[in-house]
């Protein structure tokens, strides 16, 4: 080894000792943050500084996208399917009960109408039965309210809340229609070759899809991980280079669902 090369090696060693031998693969996520995009909170450790934050509001997903600055378009997204979250009516009905003494007639009639469950485009028969029970109780509550019987009106709100709490959707219920159909439409050629893997995220069963593609002479990795917690469907997405996959994995596995 020439004297020059030995010198470079020493400099590299000293730099490693002083500054650490961290590579991009070992990039550590930032401290955990709690996000409240809907009535169910989700917490995770976001990517570190150098990943710009943008709001994600597309494809029925509400969440945050972290875009790596000065990169080749690498991004990590964590979000929630809000059209599924909105089927959980417990928060809306609970708010109505909490504000029952304070709100006036107009607000009560409006808010109780808006608290109703949707009855179209349902995933399961169970969801339909719960929706009908919730709506019937809310309707009885409005009738009692208009008949100047606030005690009965409040009691029916409690019945609506009890029915809404029985609402349950599992990953199997929603995965195909909410998650896989759009993916299949986006990637009709490659979808069959996606690598599917079952895993646990935040203590819940989850499913991961992995594939890659070439663009402008670069190989990009894609990941989509879906998980359901308390009938709320979440997705963690990645697009980027292979060397950044470990960071995505660390962000994704840090996902938890606080009470």
């Amino acid at each position: 080894m020439s004297r020059h090369l030995r010198g470079s090696a020493w400099i590299a060693l000293v730099a490693c000792v002083l500054f650490g031998c961290r590579t991009e693969e070992q990039e550590q996520p930032a401290p955990r943050e709690v996000f409240r995009w809907t009535s169910q909170a989700v917490s995770f450790s976001p990517p570190p500084a150098g990943w710009r934050r943008e709001g994600e509001l597309s494809g029925g997903v509400r969440g945050v996208r972290f875009v790596k600055e000065h990169s080749v378009g690498e991004a990590i997204t964590v979000g929630e399917f809000h059209h599924i979250a909105e089927r959980d009516r417990t928060a809306a009905i609970q708010e109505l009960i909490d504000n029952f003494e304070k709100i006036d007639r107009y607000d009560f009639l409006r808010d109780s109408q808006l608290a109703q469950s949707r009855t179209d485009d349902l995933f399961t028969g169970h969801e339909r039965r719960v929706a009908e029970e919730v709506n019937a109780a809310l309707s009885r509550s409005r009738t009692s309210y208009l008949n100047d019987d606030p005690k009965m009106a409040r009691g029916e709100l409690e019945n609506a809340l009890a029915a809404a709490r029985r609402f349950r959707l599992t990953l199997d219920d929603v995965l195909e229609k909410a998650a896989l159909e759009p993916l299949r439409r986006q990637e009709p050629q490659r979808f069959a070759s996606f690598e599917r893997r079952n895993l646990q995220v935040g203590g819940e069963p989850a499913v991961s899809f992995a594939w890659s593609f070439e663009l402008s002479g670069r190989r990009y990795e894609r990941r989509e991980v879906f998980v359901v917690h308390r009938s709320h469907l979440y997705v963690a997405r990645f697009i980027g280079l292979e060397k950044t996959v470990p960071l995505f994995e660390r962000v994704m596995t840090s996902i938890e669902f606080p009470q």
């Binding site: 996000f35 409240r36 995009w37 934050r53 994600e56 969440g63 945050v64 003494e101 709100i103």
Partner: protein, 243 residues
């Protein structure tokens, strides 16, 4: 000798370059008379109901949010009554519309209705009516204000948030902390974008003589955050202001 001169020059330069806040300046913001330090390098723009400190793209905005507690309500109603008594019922009506009949400032819907009823009574008389026609409703209005419970500071912050452009569909309250400034009740709050936890905004609301004064700082990071906190800490109300 050269080293000594260089050290002396560095010291002189360091002192010259040290940023120092200018002394406190007096401003009138709506009904509030305040003294506050204008951060060094910032420009103060007096816009009447609000005061803006500007430094490039960054702004600190003081705003008079109006009456929030019974003494503030009483001042508004008293001014309206004097105007009516002097035959200026049109101006009196304008004053009465300043009464914030908003739910967050009342302990219950009934408490709000107790004030709304005489307030509506005064406003519903024909234009040009003499004071004698509204005297009873004014008396009832004052009695209802006297019976009103002062809103706690967190409810005053709840009431202030939408008036400070807080859109709960886009932003959430990250933190709030009750505090005191110039021996008055106050609250500090920080909001950020719900989706991304970015774009922090700092808010400070203080109650003076039953009226709220707000200080707002958008993109409240780094130097802007320091200027915001300095301004909140240095805030002082004029001697004749009630607490």
């Amino acid at each position: 000798m050269n080293k000594l001169l260089a050290a002396l020059l560095c010291t002189v330069l360091a002192i010259a370059c040290t940023e120092s806040s200018s002394p406190a300046r007096a401003f009138q913001i709506g009904k509030h008379r305040i003294e506050v330090m204008v951060p060094a390098g910032w420009q103060a723009l007096d816009q009447g109901r609000q005061l803006v400190f500007r430094n490039g793209e960054t702004t600190l905005i003081f705003t008079d949010l109006g009456a929030v507690r019974p003494d503030g309500f009483r001042d508004v109603a008293a001014a309206a009554r004097e105007l009516w008594r002097s035959g200026r019922d049109d101006e009196a009506r304008t004053r009465l519309w300043e009464l914030p009949l908003r739910t967050d400032l009342f302990e219950s819907h009934d408490a709000l209705e107790r004030i709304r009823e005489p307030w509506s009574g005064v406003l519903s008389v024909p234009r040009g009516a003499p004071y004698a026609d509204v005297a009873t409703d004014f008396d009832r209005l004052f009695a209802a204000i006297d019976a009103m419970q002062p809103a706690p500071i967190d409810r005053i912050m709840d009431d202030a948030l939408p008036r400070l452009d807080h859109d709960p569909s886009r932003r959430e309250v990250k933190s709030r902390q009750a505090t005191r400034a110039d021996n008055r009740e106050a609250m500090l709050a920080e909001t950020w974008m719900t989706l991304t936890h970015s774009d922090p905004r700092c808010l400070f609301v203080i109650v003076n003589a039953g009226r709220a004064l707000a200080l707002r700082c958008d993109r409240c990071e780094g130097a802007a955050s320091a200027a915001f906190h300095d301004a909140a800490v240095s805030l002082h109300f004029a001697a004749e202001s009630r607490k």
